[in-house]
Symmetry: C2
Subunit: 91 residues, 2 copies
């Protein structure tokens, strides 16, 4: 019985683990407004001066704006995310 | 020896699994321009008409624009991400 339990437990853990290795889907947003059903931000162009830099890594403390936190996230996770820059055309 | 191997293997798998349960940091971007070191997009305000909707879930097939894929991602992962809308002020 003990042996079967070990076998069963091992199989259970292995299954979970393989699911993870196969790429079990993970949340993108870990901390921004988690009580909201969906975080959508709307910004008026007229309120952007020369340019604004918007966060797409969901790690910024100034969300929806980028504060450079994508760099630490990329390093930690081997990721390659970066911000969206909205700017006035150079004249 | 077989017993020790089982014990060792179980411990190994368990450790990995617990690391996962504790929230091993995950990539945000799974498929967009993964050969680039950092994906930064720059858009000129003058090229946005009345409004543009930008992806922040990294699942859009029209990246950097949103194509609604955030909804399937949110449902699958229990997440709550949504796009950034840049628009002209209503007059
Ligand atoms: S801090 Fe999130 S993209 Fe820069
Ligand atoms: S498809 Fe990514 S935010 Fe809409």
């Amino acid at each position: 019985v003990a042996c079967a339990a070990i076998g069963f437990g091992t199989k259970l853990i292995l299954d979970n683990n393989l699911e993870f290795l196969k790429g079990k889907p993970s949340k993108v947003n870990l901390s921004v407004k988690k009580t909201e059903g969906k975080v959508v931000d709307t910004v008026d162009m007229e309120d952007i001066g020369k340019q604004a830099v918007f966060c797409r890594c969901w790690r910024s403390k100034k969300f929806p704006y980028c504060d450079g936190s994508h760099n630490a996230h990329n390093e930690k996770c081997g990721d390659n995310v970066g911000p969206l820059i909205i700017k006035k055309k150079e004249s």
